[in-house]
């Protein structure tokens, strides 16, 4: 259960973001991608998450190219970008239910309520997400992580717009996932607070 990148390069317009990147992440590991703004962190994450086509090089999941695997690889993947991926006109519960069914999980209403409660959204489940605050919207998006049983989490700056309590909560969730043998790839400007010492750092120099 490893995710490897070989000679990975990304070109944005006519600028080369990074060239011949090699790394590999095993189950139960967290890969932290660092670099200043605009050095291609998000582009790398999008390429890993198959949102963006690979310019040059290969990405292997269990030694099979992710472009060949495509839907099977996406089955194992959860992505959270800067956008929350939730509809503002629907309620938090409806959003979560749709995300789960979309990713092939049949999940009971009770489980949805528990996930929302765990993210500190008790009492807000049936309100249209439009009325919630930015932090609460972010928690709704993060609540899906509790329900998803995928192995790989790719999170693009997940701690943005979260208050101290939510940050601690998310760190706990990520740590639990990594300990259970999951793979987490994320970018952040804060401390990840993972104490089990299985963090791999990758610096994109530009």
């Amino acid at each position: 259960m490893t995710l490897q990148a070989h000679q990975l390069s990304c070109i944005q317009g006519d600028r080369i973001l990074f060239e011949e990147l090699d790394f590999s992440v095993k189950a139960g590991e967290l890969l932290l991608i660092e670099g200043q703004n605009g050095c291609g962190k998000t582009t790398l994450l999008k390429t890993l998450a198959t949102i963006r086509q690979i310019d040059a090089g290969k990405i292997l999941w269990n030694n099979q190219s992710i472009t060949k695997l495509s839907d099977d690889y996406r089955d194992q993947l959860t992505w959270l970008g800067h956008l929350n991926g939730i509809k503002l006109d629907l309620t938090a519960a409806e959003n979560l239910k749709i995300s789960c069914t979309l990713n092939g999980l049949s999940v009971s209403d009770l489980a949805v309520m528990e996930a929302l409660e765990e993210m500190g959204l008790y009492g807000y489940e049936d309100l249209p997400v439009r009325v919630l605050s930015q932090g609460q919207k972010r928690r709704t998006a993060l609540a899906y992580l509790l329900l998803s049983q995928t192995l790989i989490w790719i999170l693009d700056e997940p701690f943005v717009a979260l208050d101290v309590k939510a940050v601690k909560l998310l760190q706990k969730v990520i740590t639990k996932h990594v300990e259970q043998g999951g793979i987490v790839i994320l970018t952040t400007h804060q401390e990840v607070g993972l104490d089990t010492g299985r963090i791999q750092r990758l610096r994109l120099t530009r």
Binding site: K46, D71, R74, L77, G85, I98, L102, G104
Partner: protein
């Protein structure tokens, strides 16, 4: 697979029905456009009967194009489109669901109010039936091809005008054969069935072509 189709279809319909006004704008646009022509062209009975099919089809074409811009743009802006791209379900099922929602909200209502065209343009009963039948087969084609245009111009400035520039050439066969059905039935020669079968053939071609092209365009747009 089918569960996802129903899920996305339900989601889009609930979303649309929470903003009833958007649904009605398309229908009122259709009614206004068909009511404008007699004011411009004159109210002579034979003339109106002759131009009725063409007018109805052009109005339907423009009305369905009106609602296309919002087909993917709201999902694009709030990130749900990214989640759809990453769902293990094949993307063309999701695209078909969204196109069906668009058709139910814009295409079907046009079919249901097309008898209004019959009234305004003095069409007799079986012309109106032919018109409704032609629109019933034709409007899904408009939604399917329209989805390609909507996906290609996602997030671009001036998207509305650009969509019509891309799609009008593709809509021409629907217009020719769609209007041809009604004109032909008016002349009492018997090959309205061939027109309808041509329209059906075109519908099947769009059903095959559009999901692939729209999915490819969506992946390109959200890179």
């Amino acid at each position: 697979m089918f569960k996802t189709y129903i899920l996305i279809l339900q989601r889009d319909l609930t979303l649309a029905l929470r903003h009833k006004t958007e649904v009605l704008t398309t229908i009122f646009f259709f009614i206004i456009v068909i009511s404008l022509f007699p004011l411009g062209v004159g109210i002579d009975k034979e003339l109106l009967q002759k131009i009725a099919p063409g007018v109805a089809w052009i109005a339907a074409l423009l009305a369905s194009m009106l609602a296309l811009e919002r087909l993917f743009s709201s999902d694009y802006e709030d990130g749900t489109l990214e989640q759809m791209l990453l769902s293990p379900q094949p993307l063309f099922v999701i695209v078909l669901a969204k196109v069906s929602a668009h058709w139910l909200l814009t295409g079907l209502p046009l079919v249901l109010i097309s008898p209004l065209v019959g009234l305004q343009y003095h069409l007799d009963f079986d012309r109106v039936i032919m018109m409704m039948l032609a629109l019933l087969i034709g409007t899904p084609i408009l939604s399917l091809l329209g989805a390609i245009g909507a996906a290609l111009t996602l997030g671009l400035r001036g998207g509305g005008v650009l969509i019509s520039l891309l799609l009008l050439p593709l809509y021409i066969p629907v217009l020719i054969y769609g209007a041809g059905v009604v004109v032909d039935s008016a002349l009492f020669n018997n090959n309205t069935e061939t027109y309808l079968s041509l329209l059906m053939g075109f519908l099947i071609l769009s059903l095959v072509l559009s999901p692939w092209a729209t999915a490819a365009a969506l992946r390109i747009a959200s890179e």
